[in-house]
């Protein structure tokens, strides 16, 4: 029996329900804070203050968000093709290699604005390449993409450890990282944007790749909803049988979709590697690939949802770090719990409140009650 409820208007579907999920997630998180003996309201205040309280804090929040926009888009594109790309972490990691190789080669001879497009290509190419192998195995051999992309995360990690303690490490250095890039391998910071709004920012990692992330969000929208390729990806994602019927080659779509996804994940590396640390470090991805899954779920795989969802997670990262600093009882792990709760309610339990909200809408606003219900009664 399908649930006999009305369809929701778009604003409720994309605005109200995520908001309710979020409020519940924070309420439960508040209870956890209470259990460790801290005041949840003060904790919330510190968190919001830590994320948005000053120009520097906002800049940090947006810096984290940048990474999440890239990985969120990566997961979303794969979702549209009916694929679950869990390999964003590894694709971003290997994408970092692309950035580093470009920067190490050209930073002494080119200005940053010439290195940047090359680094974009490098990151995208290596991310896409890393996604190509699982995609090929899925398309031609039927190896399940969830399994293979997870395994490729581990392979990526091992590969990068090898490269960073070996070939890429400068002679004589003790740290598992590349040399620091010169001026030509560093992206300009966007702190001046904050200053336009009257904030003062002494230093933050907030950089130009944020703009690239927004451009990518727009491009993803354009490709998915406005091109023939996007049409084919969505058809394949919704109904592989219909795609077969329409003469859309499944293998081709699986491979192209995963390579776009991998390229987006790979570009995430631009933000920390070229925008902040100016060197390739061990484990620079720090889970952003996985956060991308939550961001894509929460943003309903639409760029207009992914950008705010990424900013929310940026806030949790930045505000959470401040919270751990201010409240000694709340450790870094507590922050992970809060983030986990958000993921739980926004992602896994996304539909928990839907039926009751739909019933509510049906009773107060009959016109919004869709034909979907009408259809179901049929003989």
């Amino acid at each position: 029996m399908s649930s006999p409820y009305a369809k929701l208007p778009a604003w409720a579907d994309y605005g109200l329900i995520p908001l309710i999920n979020l409020v519940v997630a924070f309420a439960v998180a508040g209870l956890v804070v209470l259990m460790v003996g801290e005041n949840p309201f003060r904790a919330a205040a510190i968190m919001v203050e830590g994320a948005f309280g000053s120009g520097r804090n906002i800049a940090y929040t947006l810096y984290y968000s940048t990474s999440f926009i890239f990985t969120g888009l990566a997961v979303a594109v794969a979702f549209h093709g009916g694929l679950f790309n869990i390999g964003g972490e590894g694709q971003a990691y290997v994408g970092g290699l692309g950035v580093a190789l470009v920067c190490l080669t050209f930073d002494s001879i080119l200005p940053w604005w010439l290195t940047f497009p090359l680094a974009i290509l490098g990151a995208a190419a290596l991310g896409a390449g890393w996604a190509f192998i699982p995609a090929y195995l899925q398309a031609r051999r039927g190896s399940h993409i969830v399994i293979t992309t997870i395994m490729f995360n581990f392979i990526a990690a091992s590969l990068m450890v090898y490269l960073l303690v070996g070939p890429l490490k400068p002679m004589g250095s003790m740290a598992p990282q590349t040399r620091t890039f010169l001026e030509g391998g560093q992206l300009p910071k966007l702190n001046w944007v904050m200053e336009l709004f009257g904030f003062t920012v002494r230093s933050s990692p907030f950089n130009l790749s944020f703009v690239l992330a927004l451009v990518c969000a727009f491009l993803v929208w354009l490709v998915i909803w406005r091109t023939r390729l996007g049409y084919e990806i969505r058809t394949q994602g919704h109904s592989p049988k219909a795609a077969r019927y329409a003469g859309i080659g499944e293998a081709r779509i699986v491979i192209i979709t995963m390579m776009i996804s991998g390229a987006l994940a790979g570009m995430m590396a631009l933000n920390p590697v070229m925008g902040d640390q100016a060197r390739l470090q061990l484990d620079f991805v720090t889970g952003a690939g996985f956060v991308g899954i939550a961001v894509a779920l929460m943003g309903r795989s639409h760029p207009a949802g992914i950008v705010p969802a990424a900013i929310l997670f940026g806030m949790l990262y930045q505000g959470g770090a401040e919270l751990a600093f201010e409240m000694p009882n709340i450790s870094r792990d507590m922050i992970v719990i809060i983030q986990g709760l958000v993921i739980l309610f926004a992602g896994a339990l996304e539909h928990m409140f839907r039926p009751s909200i739909q019933a509510l809408f049906a009773s107060i606003s009959p016109r919004s009650a869709g034909l979907a219900a009408a259809k179901r009664e049929g003989a």
């Binding site: 029996m1 006999p4 409820y5 009305a6 369809k7 406005r226 091109t227 023939r228 390729l229 049409y231 084919e232 969505r234 058809t235 919704h238 109904s239 049988k241 219909a242 077969r244 019927y245 329409a246 003469g247 859309i248 049906a362 009773s363 009959p366 016109r367 009650a369 869709g370 034909l371 979907a372 219900a373 009408a374 259809k375 179901r376 009664e377 049929g378 003989a379």
Partner: protein
Amino acid sequence: MSEAAIELVGINKSFGAVHANRDINLEIPRGTIHGIIGENGAGKSTLMSILYGFYQADTGDIHVNGKSTAINTPNDAIAAGIGMVHQHFMLVQNFTVLENVILGAEGEALLNKSIAKARAELIRLEKEYGLEVNPNAIIEELPVGLQQRVEILKALYRGADILILDEPTGVLTPAEADHLFRILGQLKAEGKTVVLITHKLREIMAITDNVSVMRQGQMVATRKTSETTVEELAELMVGRRVLLRVQKEEGKPSDFKLSVKNLTVKDQRGVTMVDNVSFDVRAGEIVGIAGVAGNGQSELLETIAGIRKAEAGTVLLDGRPIDVTGAADPGELRDRGLAHVPEDRHYVGLVLPFEEYENSILGYHDHAQYLKGPFLDIDAIRADARDKIEKYDIRPTNERLKTANFSGGNQQKIVLAREMEKDPGVLIVGQPTRGVDVGAIEFIHKRLIAMRDGGKAVLLVSVELDEIRSLSDRILVMFDGRIVGERDSEASEGELGLLMAGVEAQEAAE
């Protein structure tokens, strides 16, 4: 007049703003067979779901055997002596008949006693109603007709006095359907009450005592079957006069458009589904393929359309081969003038979450008229979709609506509009009117005839024998993957029914 087995008084049920059942009053006398007919969406299933406890009515009372009874769950319904046989069987495929029958009524932790009891009961029921079925047979090895019998046994085993059957003959051969009707007659003779939900008017006329007609959530009429006619019932269902039999001229077949030679197709398990099949379809004729569902028609259609790979054989389209054993591409076949209306419009012919206009180009999305470089020409696509909506009377007339929100008949029209408007030389059609209401059936049939009269070759696969007989110029009957006979459109239903059941083939083998 005997006492009412079921009496529904003032039943109302709304889903949001949709009033699915409106002030329904219905009295079903005990010991009768009562038909309920209506178009898709008329509210038949909702009403039966209320009676069986899947939904609760907003207002209204249910009386069973004269007593007001609250039915909140299917268990309440079973306790009140109501049993239901669903359209899609609820059987555990790898259990035996006996195990399925006791499912949910197992009794104690150890099964030996309840199995013994069930076995004795099954033997009794078998004697009483002619419901023969081997208690130890595994469900998945039984033909559909017997599986349905197990469903009926399940209901009777639970003490059902009132049996609701939802579209019971959709999956049966005419012979199996006849057998089912004999069983129902037997049940009636034993004093049981049968409620039959169907959209096949002929069945209503054949076996019911009374018939109630639903339209748009309301019970518009109840008639004694002996005092009504098919024409009257059809008119009551639709609310206007309906042409039940398609008017058509004699066909004028000319050139060979589609030739299938020695085609053999296996499914994923390696079972031969299409076995050495050969036939031709000419321009200006409709060739119908009759057969009980699952005898290879679907695979045949899919193979010709390039979706499924053949094991051996050739298919010629306009004299040029289709690479059916290799890399046939549905997109390329479309360009060569082969249009395909698939059997399963929900998952193959349409992408239900898409907006209507997006589906109006499925398969033709690479045609230049819909593209601007790599981009979709959204304006052109929507204008084109609006044209088709008008031309094919698709409702609601909104190309931005999600396809899932259209009714079955309108969804089918979306597919037909897309495939026919490209003016293909060959049209292959699977189950064009499955789950489609009477009004739309008439429209679709007229369109198919118009295609034929326009000099196109039409290959039609349908499990509705009436449809095959009224549309086809020639009828091929498929049984067990083979074409077991060819008849003209004058062939009697009985003759075709025997062929569909494989009788002739078996005799020939012996």
